[in-house]
């Protein structure tokens, strides 16, 4: 029972980080229709930037803020340099540009920061677990969950109440109508990438705090793909629920299935689940079902 509760809570907490990154993914897809496969590398870049600032002596909060700000510029830069040129091209080219971007980002990350595992030193969160009732969880999990939730709330408010957020929603809903009432679609695309980069940076920073930072954190960033498939590609609440569900799935399979399938079952379970899930409900729980015509 204790194992169950602990797995449950850890799963939800890690899932919160995934939800944050998945939110960035969904925003890009909703606003510009780009299916982004470079999300893993984007989390890496954000994580390494805040690690660099942190090791230079900047307090953690400010390092995180700086990585958010740099993520903003990187996002706009990426969109303007690569994705902007491809508006109106077939979906395959757009997906494959993000594949190219993932190579590019990965190469740059390895070039600048190397392939060794780096840790936040001195550690930000104490290793001592916090006891809540009968379960104990690591401090890092708790704080990342809180941060992820705060950011999620900020993003949701941004979409609901600010002018830019409303412009983005309008573009996502109907690009032609949005253009006709004077929304700049190019601005919206750039803003979507900027938000995705920022969300990925925060997610990556916390993921890097859990087990140290190396290239395989980028693989954790890829877990947003099962998450968004589960929730539906164009649903923001779906992304949040999907992220948490994937966190749960990962931790439960690690806790219970590892006995029967020793090894990497924890890493594989989300993808295996996704492959099976796609067979039955390709548009996810809250996504739009597209009706195809010749």
């Amino acid at each position: 029972m204790e194992l169950f509760l602990m797995t449950l809570i850890t799963g939800i907490m890690v899932g919160g980080i995934y939800a944050l990154v998945a939110l960035g993914w969904v925003i890009i897809y909703k606003c510009s229709g780009v299916l982004n496969l470079a999300m893993g590398e984007m989390t890496l870049i954000g994580a390494y930037i805040s690690l660099t600032f942190y090791s230079m002596g900047v307090p953690f909060i400010f390092a995180l803020l700086l990585s958010i700000i740099i993520g903003l510029f990187l996002g706009i830069l990426t969109e303007r340099l690569f994705l902007d040129k491809l508006i109106g091209e077939p979906v395959l080219s757009v997906i494959m540009v993000t594949v190219g971007l993932s190579f590019l980002f990965k190469g740059i990350v390895e070039l600048i920061w190397g392939t060794d595992t780096k840790v936040f030193n001195p550690p930000i969160f104490s290793i001592e677990p916090i006891n809540i009732g009968m379960v104990s969880i690591g401090e890092v999990y708790l704080w990342s969950f809180i941060a992820a939730m705060i950011l999620l709330v900020i993003f949701v408010c941004f979409f609901k109440y600010t002018r830019w957020g409303l412009a983005m929603q309008a573009t996502a809903d109907d690009e032609m109508a949005a253009l006709s009432i004077g929304v700049s679609a190019r601005f919206v695309y750039a803003a979507a990438w900027a938000i995705a980069f920022m969300a990925a940076g925060v997610g990556g920073t916390f993921l890097g705090n859990i087990n140290g930072l190396n290239i395989s954190v980028g693989y954790l960033g890829l877990l947003v793909l099962p998450a968004v498939v589960l929730g539906g590609l164009n649903s923001i609440p779906g992304a949040i629920v999907g992220g948490i569900a994937i966190g749960l799935l990962q931790n439960f399979s690690g806790a219970y299935l590892d006995r029967y399938f020793p090894g990497a079952v924890k890493e594989i379970a989300p993808f295996a689940f996704m492959a099976i899930f796609l067979l039955f409900r390709p548009h996810g729980f809250w996504g739009w079902e597209r009706i195809e015509r010749v």
Binding site: L86, V97, V99, G100, L104, G263, I268, L278
Partner: protein, 366 residues
């Protein structure tokens, strides 16, 4: 991008001419020259290093042909092709190491060719298994299921279970002398080169013939619009699965061939980035053309080697540069994919076609 135009003033006079592979005397001469240079001149003139580079090109072509078939001809997006190469490589290795071959088969050198064939079939069936979702999903969702194929196969199945067979630990190494085709032991770069060139030509011919047959036309119809293909009476699922089988077969043979060069395999050789780079190769080369695949592979391997040669002189002043070259290569490759998609979405193959037609139609290009 369809067939090349005939030179100015040449006409077909019967159907046989139109279906001929080499339509004019000039093309025939050109192809003979190509074969001569492939079989005679390159092995004679190139040194060991460049033969190794060519082997790499051949391996990339063999792997990318299957991806080209799936993406370029059948429209089934796949990002997990490395998994099928891995399955082929492991199947062949395990067959050689663990299967109790009769003595005479080992001596006559039938074991390795037979294992290559079986590896191809195993990889093809494995590919069908992960192609089954294509009956229901397509586009981006199919990308995700093939990605799942990659992670399930390589990171889980091969790493955790298959690698444990025989208790050798992670990496399997093949003792020298086991790679034997007939009387020849494949132990040097040059012998690998000959195996490679025969396989590449064989599969290019098979593929070109498949594409211009009924099967190929069905694939192209599915690529262009699968619903109309179904309306026209094409059994979409059957042809999709057939495409997956053929692509998987090629991948399996590519993997089984590549172990003759590596002589040791581990799951690290078949990461997700291999699958991604195979897709990058066909994007650079051009979708829907076989020579596009070849150009893409040459671009990826040879241009990157040239880049390395260009960086080499700088290594005295910046010793870190050589160590980091792998990463520079990766970034440059990613940038190349992006730039090709932005500025030349049809790839190198399209440019080649244009140049060829320019000369064929000269001086009356209308």
């Amino acid at each position: 991008m369809s067939t090349t135009f005939l030179p100015c003033g040449d006409y077909h006079q019967n159907y046989k001419q139109e279906h001929a592979w080499w339509q004019t005397q000039f093309i025939k001469g050109k192809m003979i020259l190509l074969f001569l240079s492939l079989f005679v001149f390159i092995p004679l003139l190139a040194n060991g290093y460049w033969i190794g580079v060519f082997n790499m090109v051949g391996y990339t072509i063999l792997g990318a042909l299957g991806v080209q078939l799936l993406i370029g001809y059948c429209g089934q997006l796949t990002l997990g092709h490395g998994a099928f190469i891995a399955v082929g490589a492991y199947a062949s290795t395990l067959l050689i190491l663990e299967f109790p071959w009769p003595k005479f088969m080992m001596d006559w050198g039938i074991a390795y060719p037979l294992s290559v064939l079986i590896a191809g079939i195993v990889a093809g069936l494995w590919s069908i298994l992960f192609g089954l979702p294509s009956a229901r999903v397509k586009g981006f969702y199919l990308i995700l299921t093939t990605m799942a194929a990659q992670f399930i196969t390589v990171d889980f199945f091969l790493t955790q279970y298959v690698s444990q067979i025989g208790g050798r630990g992670q990496a399997f190494s093949l003792p020298p002398g086991t790679m034997k085709i007939g009387p020849w032991v494949i132990d040097s770069n040059i012998r690998v080169y000959y195996v490679m060139i025969i396989l590449v030509i064989f599969f290019c011919v098979i593929m070109a013939n498949l594409i211009r047959s009924k099967v190929g036309r069905a694939w192209v119809a599915i690529r262009d619009n699968d619903i109309s293909a179904e309306v026209m009476g094409i059994n979409v699922i059957k042809y999709k699965l057939l495409a997956f089988f053929v692509a998987g077969f090629m991948a399996g043979v590519a993997g089984a061939f590549w172990i003759s060069n590596l002589a040791a395999i581990s799951p690290d050789h078949f990461t997700w980035y291999l699958s991604l780079s195979l897709v990058g190769v066909i994007l650079i080369g051009g979708l829907g053309s076989i020579y596009g695949t070849i150009f893409g592979s040459i671009f990826m391997v040879v241009v990157m080697e040239l880049l390395q040669l260009a960086v080499m002189p700088l290594s005295d002043t910046y010793p870190k540069l050589m160590m980091d070259f792998l990463f520079i290569k990766e970034a440059a490759f990613g940038l190349a994919i992006c730039l090709f998609l932005i500025f030349e979405p049809n790839g190198i193959g399209y440019r080649w076609w244009q140049i060829k037609n320019y000369f064929n139609l000269w001086p009356f290009s209308y």
